[in-house]
């Protein structure tokens, strides 16, 4: 080795330099996101007919898909936390209710649940209103987007409850005992000691659920919500070019899911602690 050449900093040392540590490096899988975005952009620019036409037709569907997914996910996180804590409750009634909820809901396919929420529940509410003489319930009208979100939250809340329960159970009992012996109440200990640690453990499955939710949001098209999938079907039913439509729709979903996966990965790195 010639002395004029600058010696490379060894990898192990590089890892300890602030700003160059692994957690702040851009992770290599971003190139996949860039690749898919690139292919989509290429299709749109190089073949505006039909790809740009399809894109223009489905773009309000993308907004609906993203909105439904994000709103549902925020609510799922809350339902999941309540459900997970209830599943660990020593109160028998709370435990029974939450267990019943989880067991029943995760045993019925999401598609069936969505159809029930949109086509059967409004009828039940209306006939209840008729029976009790309540005009408010009798004139009940379901908004498809609201019902779709309720359906998704109800179903995914059950899955998320189990994830929360697993996360909380993975934290050693001593943590809770120590917090309680310091004078914290049960909820203080949960809020400040157990849950923050559990969150770190369950971050990967939560990210997984988010991506699954994004994809399953395509099922809401069955209750006439004009999401990306429904818009794609509408376009293809008018123009009969399924290959182009579904290639573009798949690419658009991929952009969203791959991007979310990277964001989850980034959060994971930021919250990692040295073992």
């Amino acid at each position: 080795m010639s002395t004029s050449e600058k010696p490379q900093i060894p990898r192990e040392e590089l890892d300890h330099i602030p700003g160059a540590e692994p957690s702040s490096r851009l992770d290599a899988w971003w190139w996949l996101v860039a690749l898919v975005v690139g292919i989509t952009a290429l299709l749109l620019i190089a073949w505006p007919d039909p790809f740009m036409d399809i894109f223009k037709f489905v773009q309000d569907g993308i907004v609906i898909t993203v909105t439904v997914t994000l709103v549902s996910f925020v609510l799922v996180m809350i339902v999941g936390m309540v459900g997970g804590l209830s599943r660990l409750s020593t109160n028998r009634i709370i435990y029974m209710i939450s267990t019943l909820y989880v067991e029943l809901v995760r045993g019925v396919p999401l598609l069936v649940q969505l159809i029930i929420w949109y086509f059967a529940v409004p009828v039940m509410i209306q006939s209840l209103g008729k029976a009790w003489g309540l005009p408010v319930l009798e004139g009940f009208q379901a908004d498809p987007v609201v019902m779709a979100i309720i359906g998704l939250v109800f179903c995914y809340g059950a899955y998320m409850s189990e994830i929360y329960r697993a996360g909380i159970q993975s934290i050693p009992k001593g943590q809770m005992e120590a917090a309680r012996s310091l004078g914290m109440t049960y909820f203080q200990a949960m809020r400040h000691v157990v849950l923050p640690q559990a969150m770190r453990v369950i971050l990967p499955p939560i990210g997984n659920e988010f991506i699954a939710l994004l994809k399953d949001s395509s099922l809401v098209s069955v209750v006439a919500v004009a999401d990306l999938t429904r818009r794609g079907r509408e376009y293809s039913s008018m123009h009969f070019d399924p290959i182009e439509v579904w290639a573009l729709v798949a690419l658009l979903y991929l952009i969203m899911t791959l991007f979310s996966a990277r964001v989850v990965n980034w959060i994971e790195k930021k919250t990692k602690f040295e073992r």
Binding site: Y118, F119, P122, V123, Q126, G139, Q141, A142, P144, S221, V222, A224, A226, R230, R233, E234, S236, S237, M238, F240, D241, P242, I243
Partner: protein
């Protein structure tokens, strides 16, 4: 080295999975013609409750045509939007599903001679006195089945919000539930649903389009069209179409 090995194994597995999908289908091995049908359109295309076979005006007509023309057919049940796309891409050889012959569809699909005349009509709830016909639908929520001429007509109404459903039955259910103001569908289908729930639904206004149902044939199978037309004409002359009308539509 280990990575390379893993990668090549993955590549091999992928290739093995793709291979059967890529190999061209042997045309001589396919003797049966696939006929697509969306059996959610009573009384034209339905699933028989007892036999679980496809039944109704369309399938029965198709079977009669096949028997006349000496074709070996197999009916498959698919959604209406994938049915149209499938026939235009030659995934299905033919389709019989109350398909209206339109200029737009003729660009990618071949059609037989018409076998039935129908038109679009508006269906509303019985207690709804706001809508007297198609012209009152501006600003209302109008539903129908995806890909059908009913939805195409709904899209032409200025100011109407259009909701597309997978099945026309969902649209009528939504109308009964009060979450939709009107459904636009072929008049025999609308009549069928109104008949089933006479106390809840009614049709309003006249039939406002003239449409003809034809049997859709994929472009690669152009040789089938004259055969189908000849069989259709023979059946018409025999009075078989009237018998079918009486049996399924009652007129």
């Amino acid at each position: 080295m280990k990575k390379l090995l893993l990668f090549s194994i993955a590549a091999c597995v992928l290739l093995a999975m793709l291979a059967p999908a890529c190999s061209p289908a042997d045309p001589s091995a396919r003797t049966k013609l696939t006929v697509a049908c969306d059996a959610t359109w009573p009384p034209f295309e339905i699933v028989n409750e007892q036999t679980k076979e496809l039944d109704g005006f369309g399938p029965e007509l198709m079977r009669a045509i096949a028997a006349k023309a000496g074709l070996d057919i197999e009916l498959v049940n698919v959604g209406f939007d994938s049915l149209l796309a499938g026939v235009s891409q030659c995934q299905y050889d033919m389709a019989v599903s109350s398909i209206t012959i339109t200029e737009e569809r003729k660009k990618t699909i071949l059609f037989s001679d018409p076998y039935f005349a129908a038109g679009q009509i508006v269906t509303v709830r019985k207690d709804d006195d706001r809508i007297k016909g198609k012209d009152d639908l501006s600003g209302k929520t109008v539903g129908g089945q995806i890909g059908t001429t009913g939805i195409i007509e709904a899209g032409k109404i200025p100011g109407a919000r259009v909701k597309t459903f997978d099945e026309v039955g969902f649209a009528f259910q939504d109308l009964i539930n009060g979450q939709l103001d009107a459904v636009i569908a072929d008049n025999p289908i609308a009549a069928g649903y109104v008949n089933k729930s006479k106390d809840k639904l009614m049709t309003v206004g006249p039939v406002f389009t003239n449409e003809y149902f034809g049997i859709a044939v994929c472009k690669k199978n152009a040789y089938l069209v004259p055969q189908i037309n000849a069989a259709l004409k023979a059946l018409k002359d025999e009075g078989f179409l009237d018998t079918l009308s009486k049996k399924w539509i009652g007129q």
